[in-house]
């Protein structure tokens, strides 16, 4: 693969060319030259785009595509196309499937679907058999097939002893255990954040307490067992505090937050719009502010779109019956830039790779090419026409976002949007 990228502003704090506008020469999948006005040596493909910016490829630690089993929501092929178009060169895929990805052959199947694609797909295996929270799945076997972490998607491990054993067992092979932060007995039949809005709507609330209790429990367990713990999608002030304290104690814990939890509060649910039904639920402005602070100071390691396509039949129903989840890959960059500076946004989108077994790259000479191309300044209203996912359940629909993606160059492939 030989390409000449013209006049691109490099956003990469690890690069000596950070914040400068350069031409980049790519030969055989490696960056061979970065300079002003590079001449096209041998009629290479030339990429010249308006206000072009480039960074190392972006990573999302939590996406769901549905396949196998929920192909009506989306397929892995279209999911990876969505990821590429949205600027992501790697995504970690949840075992939110039917059957659940809980064996070596399941992981191999998922990998086969991503073979030779521009986007690297990192399968997450289920932590327990069929994500039932009863017996450990074959974690080591899945690990050898390429599973990068183990997670019962959005299902808490209610039995503390099982979580203890999972952490101990996975530490044998340095496996990453994920624990959904929710104490189910406290969350009960709740469907949204417990606060003034849930009170006004008569909807059952999920108190932040449910999340915090589970995180506190898991941190105690981690302190006892050692091992590696990842807590996906936290949502409350006290959760941030708990993890901040755990990091001070040098526990090997990471966590993420969903972009929509940094952007919307539970007041959006005022007219029972099921597009805003997500888990963990949208919470209050105080929570939102603390989460943003947590991202800024590094307490929160990763920000995820928590992309989860849900077909309209599961969303266009009474609020209590609607499925949780929103798509988010397509809106991720544009939404983050309404909250953070460009530099911070890129920093966020490229963090957490090594935790999930990926290498960090940078935009430097002799580096392997793994790159996202974008225009950070385009302002637009996010609408259905911006959605590539098969399901259109977008929480960001009608929001004004900032920044559009041109595409990616990754795995020796150029995937540019029209």
């Amino acid at each position: 693969m030989n390409i000449l990228i013209k006049s691109a502003t490099i956003i990469d704090s690890k690069s000596e060319f950070h914040n400068t506008t350069q031409d980049l020469l790519i030969e055989n999948g490696e960056i061979t030259k970065i300079a002003n006005n590079i001449k096209n040596p041998k009629n290479y493909q030339e990429i010249k785009l308006d206000n072009l910016h480039v960074s190392q490829g972006w990573f999302d630690s939590s996406v769901s595509f549905g396949e196998p089993g929920f192909e009506e929501r989306d397929t892995i092929e279209n999911g990876l196309k969505t990821a590429a178009s949205s600027g992501f060169t790697a995504v970690a895929l949840n075992a939110n499937t039917n059957p659940v990805i809980d064996s070596n052959s399941d992981v191999t199947f998922v990998n086969s679907r991503a073979y030779k694609k521009a986007v690297t797909l990192l399968p997450i295996g289920s932590l327990t058999v069929n994500s039932k929270g009863e017996d450990l799945a074959e974690l080591y076997d899945m690990n050898t097939a390429g599973a990068v972490a183990f997670y019962d998607y959005k299902k808490p491990i209610s039995n503390p002893n099982l979580m203890k054993i999972a952490l101990q067992y996975a530490s044998n092979f340095n496996g990453l255990v994920c624990s959904f932060p929710q104490e189910n007995k406290i969350s009960g039949h709740g469907v949204m954040n417990e606060n003034i809005t849930s009170t006004k709507l008569g909807l059952k609330g999920i108190p932040a307490l449910a999340e915090e209790l589970q995180i506190a429990r898991d941190l105690f367990l981690l302190e006892y067992t050692g091992g590696k713990l990842h807590i996906p999608t936290i949502s409350s002030v006290k959760s941030v505090e708990l993890i901040r304290d755990a990091k001070k104690k040098k526990l090997d814990v990471t966590c993420s937050v969903a972009i929509h939890n940094l952007y919307f509060t539970d007041s959006m649910l005022n007219d029972f719009n099921t597009h805003f039904k997500v888990l963990p639920p949208l919470r209050t402005q105080t929570d939102l502010d603390a989460l943003i602070e947590g991202v800024k100071d590094g307490t929160i390691d990763m920000v995820t779109s928590d992309h989860n396509p849900i077909d309209v039949e599961q969303k266009k129903v009474e609020f209590d019956h609607a499925e949780y989840g929103t798509i988010g890959l397509e809106s991720a960059f544009g939404a983050l830039q309404t909250i953070f500076t460009l530099k911070k946004t890129i920093d966020i989108l490229t963090k957490g790779k090594t935790r999930f077994g990926l290498e960090n790259t940078s935009i430097n000479i002799d580096e392997k090419l793994n790159m996202t191309l974008f225009n950070p300044d385009t302002k637009y209203t996010f609408s259905k026409s911006d959605i590539i996912s098969k399901s259109k359940n977008a929480i960001f629909e009608n929001e004004t976002l900032k920044g559009k993606v041109y595409g990616i160059i990754s795995n020796n492939k150029v995937a540019l949007n029209n």
């Binding site: 909807l203 108190p207 129903v317 209590d320």
Partner: protein, 309 residues
């Protein structure tokens, strides 16, 4: 002529003060009608109303049906204790099937909060919410306020305590919105387990001592404990609940004023209220039931007149 600001009655929180005044003035007229020898007016001869009850109901359903018939509307009834989703048909499809038989208005009771709001966005008919989960029961709150107005002259400035299971109660929520809109002060009283944690943010007082609550109020609206909505026990026993939150004659006599007692029904005699209180002259429980028909006639009439435009 005045008209409502809304095309549906989905909850009190979607109404304004003028709407409530208009409903009350219209209900005054209909209350006079239903006390005539011929209790019927021909106003809605060209209107067809479907009563869709996806949850059990006796009095509300009868009250609506009577209101509709006294306005000369054509009425069809559909009752299913099962939600339509469980049967495999969506709520929108169920209702659209009924609407395609040329129905103009839907009165719906449904176990899920927001079901009426949801439906109003997806079907072409005027919707009246006859209770949606723990969300709202607007006609109940209207008839409650109307009954207070009838008994005490006005609602503004009155102190009303709602006693009992606030957590699972659409009646409580609609009453809070309605009473506040009309300038009354509202208190809720019950065991802490049955009071939503953040209810004070609605601007209501919270009291866990019934004696103090009754001493404060002009009106006490006693709610039924909704055992059918509870997934766990929120208090150890009915006996213990009654000891703390049941109103009896002795308690009423110990107050230095005569308060008005209300209850949306059905009453659990001897639990939240004793018989001698329920049947006393302080109680306006049966007036509430009669006013319910007049209020529902008013709401249906006012919404129907918007359809006719």
């Amino acid at each position: 002529m005045s008209e409502l600001s809304v095309n549906h009655l989905l909850g009190i929180k979607y109404l304004n003060k003028k709407d409530i005044q208009l409903i009350f003035e219209t209900a005054d007229h209909f209350k006079e009608v239903i006390n005539r020898p011929i209790k019927k007016v021909p106003s809605l001869r060209d209107i067809t109303i479907a009563n869709l009850f996806f949850e059990n109901s006796t009095r509300t359903k009868l009250s609506f049906e009577l209101a509709e018939k006294r306005l000369s509307a054509d009425v069809i009834n559909f009752s299913s204790a099962q939600s339509s989703v469980k049967k495999g048909e969506t709520l929108i499809d169920t209702v659209n099937n009924i609407l395609s038989m040329k129905v103009d208005m839907v009165v719906m009771r449904h176990p899920n909060p927001g079901a009426g709001v949801f439906l109003s966005k997806h079907v072409k008919a005027s919707i009246i919410n006859a209770g949606d989960g723990a969300h709202e029961h607007p006609t109940q709150a209207l008839l409650d306020s109307y009954s207070i107005r009838e008994k005490l002259g006005e609602v503004a400035g009155k102190k009303v305590v709602i006693v009992g299971d606030i957590l699972h109660s659409r009646v409580a929520l609609s009453n809070i919105f309605a009473l506040q809109l009309q300038g009354a002060q509202v208190m809720v009283c019950g065991p802490k387990t049955l009071i939503p944690k953040y209810i004070d943010k609605l601007g209501v007082k919270v009291e866990t001592n019934l004696n103090k609550a009754l001493n404060w109020c002009d009106v006490a609206n006693m709610l039924r404990v909704q055992n059918e909505r509870m997934d766990i026990s929120y208090f150890p026993s009915t006996r213990e609940y009654t000891q703390q939150f049941g109103v009896n004659r002795e308690l009423l006599d110990s107050l230095d004023k005569e308060i008005t007692i209300m209850h949306p029904g059905p009453i659990n005699r001897g639990v939240e209220i004793t018989s001698d209180v329920a049947d006393s002259k302080q109680s306006i429980i049966l007036d509430q039931v009669q006013n319910g028909v007049a209020i529902r006639m008013a709401v249906i009439y006012l919404l129907a007149s918007k359809i006719k435009q």
